[in-house]
């Protein structure tokens, strides 16, 4: 089974779970005065769950014929060439993003961002530390100044143990 049909299968399952929540769990909590309304908080999700399951089934069962003679992908991204791609780098970068998300509060914006930018370039194979470090620090400083000082959105600049 091709990847798109696997996704359709997952989507149909997801719609069933979503529909279960909408049909069987949401209405019990509804206060009596709202039950007299023609439309309930669960009305729209119910409609969506049914429609979603139906369209998911259409994709899953392959009812809609793809256009003949069309290549597998209009873009140059192709699942068949996945083994040629640099999956390791991509996964490392994703991990780095998660790490950044978790450490942003604790380590402070300036430190976390500089480390993120330098580590990101390093993962991609850049080894010119004397360029990477100043660029990352300069960019971090500029963004912090713009966001906090000019736009007035608070970003904690320093690690948690060095004040707010």
């Amino acid at each position: 089974m091709a990847l798109d049909r696997w996704i359709a299968l997952i989507f149909v399952t997801f719609c069933c779970a979503y529909g279960y929540l909408a049909f069987f769990t949401m209405d019990q909590l509804l206060p009596p005065f709202m039950q007299r309304n023609p439309v309930w908080p669960s009305t729209f999700p119910k409609v969506l769950a049914v429609l979603g399951a139906l369209t998911g089934l259409v994709v899953l069962l392959g009812l809609e014929k793809p256009e003949a003679g069309k290549g597998p992908s209009a873009t140059d991204i192709n699942l068949a060439r996945l083994h040629e791609y640099k999956i390791g780098q991509a996964l490392l970068l994703l991990g780095l993003m998660v790490l950044y998300a978790l450490s942003l509060r604790a380590a402070g914006f300036l430190l976390a961002t500089t480390v993120f930018l330098v580590a990101g370039s390093a993962i991609l194979g850049e080894r010119k530390w004397h360029v990477m470090l100043p660029v990352a620090m300069l960019a971090t400083g500029c963004v912090w100044y713009l966001v906090q000082q000019v736009l007035g959105i608070y970003l904690r600049p320093l690690p948690y143990f060095m004040g707010t």
Binding site: I77, L102, T113
Partner: protein
């Protein structure tokens, strides 16, 4: 009217107001380029500055300049990085980004600037002529019609996704609508599908989803396949061809003309705004284009770039109509403008034109100036803006990822949002691998809340589904939506039948 124009001219051409227009456009363009800061947040940030000016005309002129600038700035990040920071420029990335990847970034930006200019200017002319009359038409649209209009919009997007793709596009649309139901809806005041998580209480933010759907998978693909970035990088080093050819100019001229008018009228409808205008504009142009030109849409078509760019600027102008004539803001952005006006002791509404004509007309005249200033400022800047693509990928990719994260973070100031972003981004990357279109998902998400609100309101007004039969316009629009979805598969089936018939020899 002539008298009004003269009043407006004299007000708008004061030195202070001209400075305001230039400053507004510049600020808007530069902040709008940062993904994550849309016109709404920029205008909100500029309000204290505008109010401190004290002069309502100058304040409104400044904010209008910021508004236009932000929309244009948003287009640049859509075109260059595939990171639309504003819902209204999502459609711009469909063809703008492929053009940039082909090494035509300069041309794409020029077309975007020219199309925006034309859309904004024609919109301003239409605003002058139609503002008084249109306010009455806009009142004819009730929630039932809005609901139907949005259904038409959603099915049009799915229907134009391409042959053999309609079901997939519909699936993505519904997923978008489902994601929009997460959180606390405005109508019911109870949390839904939050899975008990506090962070989902306010729902998934639009910026997070937009970043996850477009910018993140694109960055991931650049990492996965280094050649993908290399070709674009080497070509865009020589951004010599900034101009579009005469043939291309001739091709986009009718598109610009059609889309300025269509975009303007969609913008007039409260609640529709630049986003719907740009998507519908794209869909319409794609549908009426013929053969080869139609196939080019989504792969760097100049028409596909000009259409949403024109439409969203025209719609921005159009959205001033209900604000200025009725005092009803048609979009989030104009709602913030309304707040600013009230703080300046001006009450927009039917009496604005009679009581303080100088404000009304100064704003309209400043729209012309604003568009002109944008064009003059941006055309010389384009080579430098397009240079972004020439940055080595080892630096560019971490920065794209960083701006993606920043965009999601500064909107919510919540680190959990970043984890949601990464999760959704991985999901989007898998979808892209399986050849699912992602734009319908985002559009479904944007329209989901409005769709449900209008649906619920009509249900409550008519105590049930009666509004479908009692309001002919609603029924007509809904029938149109069903036809749009069914038409592609009917056409494909007929084509197959015909092919079989030929094979049988009859």
């Amino acid at each position: 009217m002539l008298e009004g124009i003269l009043i407006g001219l004299s007000a708008a051409f004061s030195l202070q107001n001209l400075l305001m227009v230039v400053a507004g456009c510049l600020i808007g363009t530069f902040i709008g380029m940062l993904p994550g800061l849309g016109p709404m947040s920029i205008i909100a940030i500029m309000i204290p500055v505008a109010i401190s000016l004290g002069d309502p005309a100058a304040a409104l002129i400044l904010l209008a300049g910021v508004y236009y600038g932000a929309i244009f700035g948003g287009s640049t990040s859509s075109i260059l990085l595939n990171a639309p920071g504003v819902a209204g420029t999502v459609a711009t990335s469909f063809d703008g980004y492929p053009m940039a990847r082909k090494g035509q970034a300069g041309k794409a930006l020029t077309i975007a600037a020219v199309a925006s200019f034309a859309g904004g200017t024609i919109g301003a002319v239409l605003l002058m002529i139609f503002a008084p009359a249109l306010s009455t038409v806009a009142l004819l649209f009730h929630s039932a019609e809005y609901f139907a209009l949005m259904v038409v919009g959603l099915s049009a997007i799915a229907a134009f996704a391409g042959t053999g793709q309609v079901a997939k596009a519909l699936m993505m649309t519904i997923l978008g609508l489902i994601l929009a139901t997460v959180g606390e809806g405005a109508l019911f005041n109870m949390p839904r599908f939050t899975l008990g998580l506090m962070d989902l209480q306010s729902g998934i933010s639009f910026i997070t989803l937009a970043m996850a759907m477009f910018a993140l998978p694109e960055a991931m693909f650049l990492v996965l396949n280094p050649q993908r970035g290399a070709s674009a990088g080497s070509d865009s080093n020589k951004i010599t061809n900034l101009r579009f050819s005469r043939e291309e100019g001739r091709a986009i001229a009718p598109v610009i003309a059609r889309q300025s008018v269509q975009g303007f009228f969609i913008g007039v409808l409260p609640g529709a705004g630049a986003t719907i205008a740009s998507f519908l504009g794209y869909a319409v142009e794609r549908n009426i284009a013929k053969g080869e030109e139609q196939a080019e849409f989504g792969h760097g078509s100049v028409k596909g770039l000009a259409a949403p760019e024109t439409a969203n600027n025209a719609a921005c102008t159009g959205s001033f109509v209900p604000l200025l004539t009725l005092g009803i803001p048609g979009s989030g952005t104009t709602a913030i403008l309304l707040g600013a006006l009230i703080a300046l002791n001006v009450t927009p509404g039917p009496r604005l034109m009679t009581d303080t004509p100088e404000i009304f007309w100064a704003v309209i005249i400043s729209m012309f100036i604003g568009n002109l200033v944008l064009l003059v400022l941006n055309l010389p800047l384009i080579p430098y803006i397009a240079k972004i693509l020439a940055i080595p990928r080892n630096y560019l990719i971490p920065f794209i990822l960083f701006f993606t994260l920043m965009g999601a973070y500064i909107g919510q100031n919540n680190a959990t949002e970043l984890l949601i972003l990464v999760g959704l981004g991985v999901m989007a990357t898998i979808f892209r691998f399986a050849d699912y279109p992602l734009a319908p998902l985002l559009i479904g998400f944007i329209l989901g809340t409005m769709l449900e609100d209008n649906f619920a309101r009509s249900m409550q007004l008519y105590r049930g589904l009666d509004f479908i039969v009692e309001r002919p316009m609603t029924l007509g629009l809904l029938v149109l939506a069903v036809l749009l979805v069914l038409l592609p598969s009917y056409r494909a089936r007929r084509a197959r039948k015909r092919a079989q018939g030929v094979a049988d020899g009859d």
